[in-house]
């Protein structure tokens, strides 16, 4: 009974949140110029929330630390940029190709990375992520090197508000797909490999294959986020693959709480908001954004490893 009531309350909360998110751009649009800026920011929040959720499949559900997740974000970003700019392919098929390309990259890199668990996994994801970064950085004729790829077309029907709604739709679909995956037998198997890999092997789970498949799925969603992010900015840059870009979703997961489904999305939005506040306090503070993230990470890791959602749950359980 208690569980059922809690469940229905959660569903009500989810529906209210979705309705509010759908209405948000219309309210913002009524505010004029600053409103348009905030539509852009909230669109970015939605995309980065998707990126954070994708990493959490590895970090929270798989229990493995990947320091190279930006690589797949970047592969998605460059796939979209190259297809639209060089091949003249329209947005929708290019956007469909982004997660596919990222999944292929994740499949190849993941095959090496899941061979050894734990510490090695972290090392290898960082190293192979850097490899992709260097390839994009050096292959000037194909990727434009550090100039990036600029001037990506935006279809006429996707104004700021429509693009926001478009991203929100993709986010919601992705969110429910990820929710389904984590609750499927496969998702449970991944969770068992996190808790006790030895025992998982014992009951007949192919640990490596589970982790690899999970890694590929996470890579695909990161690629989708990367594609959307490129379309939002209308350019792709090597920054998108840089190792420090991988820090953002890690932090989002930690701040939001990696053992919950929505936590990383909340964490990511909080961080983007924080970035804007910091920008307003002093422009030069953005220069040391990585350092700010580092200090937040340090504090969260030492004092609240379960993040905001964990703190909230602790507080509500006590009261």
């Amino acid at each position: 009974m208690e569980g059922a009531r809690l469940k229905s309350r959660n569903w009500t909360a989810a529906i209210i949140t979705i309705v509010l998110l759908v209405l948000l751009p219309f309210v913002l649009r009524a505010l004029g110029r600053p409103g348009e800026y905030w539509i852009w920011v909230t669109t970015e929040m939605i995309i980065m929330a998707l990126f954070a959720l994708s990493l959490n499949l590895i970090l929270g559900f798989g229990g493995m630390v990947s320091f190279g997740h930006a690589a797949f974000f970047g592969v998605g970003a460059y796939t979209l940029a190259l297809l639209m700019k060089k091949a003249g392919i329209p947005l929708l098929p290019a956007l469909a190709a982004a997660p596919l390309a990222a999944a292929v990259a994740a499949g190849i890199i993941g095959w090496f990375c899941v061979r050894l668990i734990g510490l090695y996994f972290a090392i290898l994801t960082l190293a192979f992520g850097q490899l992709l970064f260097m390839i994009v950085f050096q292959w000037y004729t194909f990727t434009g090197g550090d100039d990036g790829i600029h001037g990506i077309a935006r279809p006429d029907f996707l104004g700021p508000t429509n693009f926001y709604l478009f991203c929100l739709l993709i986010f919601l679909v992705s969110f429910f797909v990820m929710r389904m995956i984590t609750r499927s037998p496969f998702g449970l198997a991944v969770r068992i490999t996190r808790e006790n890999a030895e025992r998982a092997k014992f009951i007949g789970i192919n640990v490596r294959r589970c982790q690899l498949l999970n890694f590929i799925i996470a890579g695909a969603f990161a690629g989708l986020a990367g594609g959307l992010f490129t379309e939002l900015n209308r350019f792709a840059q090597t920054d998108f693959l840089h190792w420090s870009k991988s820090a953002e979703p890690i932090l989002a997961c930690l701040v939001g709480g990696m053992y919950s489904l929505v936590g990383p999305a909340i964490g990511s939005s909080v961080l983007i908001f924080l970035n804007i506040i910091i920008q307003h306090i002093h422009q030069s503070l953005v220069e040391i954004w990585a350092m700010v993230l580092g200090f937040i990470l340090l504090v969260v890791v030492l004092f609240a490893p379960e993040g905001l959602v964990g703190l909230y749950e602790k507080a509500t359980r006590k009261s």
């Binding site: 050096q138 420090s244 350092m291």
Partner: protein
């Protein structure tokens, strides 16, 4: 390829390999005792190089005395930074899940990289080699840069020194005992946390030493820390995590491999560490000198 050219490339590769070993041995030593992979190791190496630059601006350029002073002062300074990090941060997380440990050292990378950018800026810096090491030496009818020869001598010295400390002193015995049975060592009345701080300082000192030695070989930029930590990772993947001997072999394979790969295609040299790493992962996933996990 003539013999002269071959020898020249070999010396170049071995030089890079020896430098890499000095840094990677610190990383693997710290892992051996503390069971923590320090992602910030590369950043400490970078800080060592920048400290050497800052100090060199205060000293007469190109004199042997200045260079010796850098060698004497910078590694202890980096070791001191290490001690502060160990006592304030690392000590809290030895018993934590490795996920927490990785994230903590990663947070340090973010902080240290930006701190270096704030202090030293984004400019490319360099330090003049001391005059006595700036020329070249004749060897088998071939002129080799003296500085490379100097590093080729320093590398084995560090190796032997490390071996002597680890295998021929009481401290070394305690460190090695702490690697395999920390509880037992503690039960025997050894102050284990002091051993850990000491080992961490030694590891960071080696990163600092690598930082000083690199200034004679290349420019100092903000990217060198990240570049080197990935090479170090390749070394420990090849040699096996926690093995100093494996680190030596891995470093030399990488150094020489990259040097010879430069010949057919310089782009291939960049991916060589990854190819080597991938090959090892296929053939012998726990590294040449490592043990299979569990």
């Amino acid at each position: 390829m003539t013999f002269d050219f071959f020898l020249f490339m070999l010396v170049n590769g071995l030089t890079q390999g020896m430098l890499l070993f000095i840094i990677a041995s610190g990383l693997t030593l710290v892992f051996g005792v503390l069971r923590v992979i320090n992602f910030a190791h590369g950043s400490l190496y970078m800080i060592g190089a920048f400290l050497a630059f800052s100090l060199s601006t205060l000293l007469p350029s190109g004199s042997l005395f200045s260079f010796l002073l850098l060698l004497l002062l910078v590694p202890p300074a980096v070791a001191l930074i290490g001690a502060i990090l160990e006592i304030t941060l690392f000590r809290r997380i030895y018993r934590a899940h490795h996920l927490i440990q990785l994230l903590l050292t990663y947070a340090l990378v973010l902080i240290l990289e930006d701190a270096a950018r704030l202090i030293w800026g984004g400019d490319i810096r360099n330090v003049a080699r001391p005059e006595i090491l700036a020329g070249s030496v004749k060897f088998l009818g071939l002129f080799l840069p003296t500085y490379n020869v100097f590093i080729l001598i320093m590398g084995p010295l560090v190796t032997v020194g490390l071996w002597l400390v680890l295998y021929r002193t009481r401290t070394g015995n305690i460190i090695r005992a702490a690697v395999s049975h920390p509880e037992m060592v503690g039960a025997l009345g050894v102050n284990v946390s002091r051993v850990m701080t000491g080992t961490f300082m030694l590891g960071c000192g080696l990163a600092g030493l690598g930082g000083v030695l690199m200034v004679g070989l290349a420019n100092i930029t903000l990217g060198i820390g990240m570049e080197k930590i990935i090479e170090c990772f390749a070394v420990v993947v090849i040699g096996g995590l926690g093995s100093v001997g494996g680190a030596l072999l891995g470093s030399l394979i990488l150094g020489v491999g990259v040097a010879f790969m430069q010949l057919p295609l310089s782009r291939l040299a960049i991916v060589f560490p990854y190819i080597a790493m991938a090959l090892i992962l296929i053939i012998r996933p726990w590294g040449l000198f490592g043990r299979p996990e569990r």
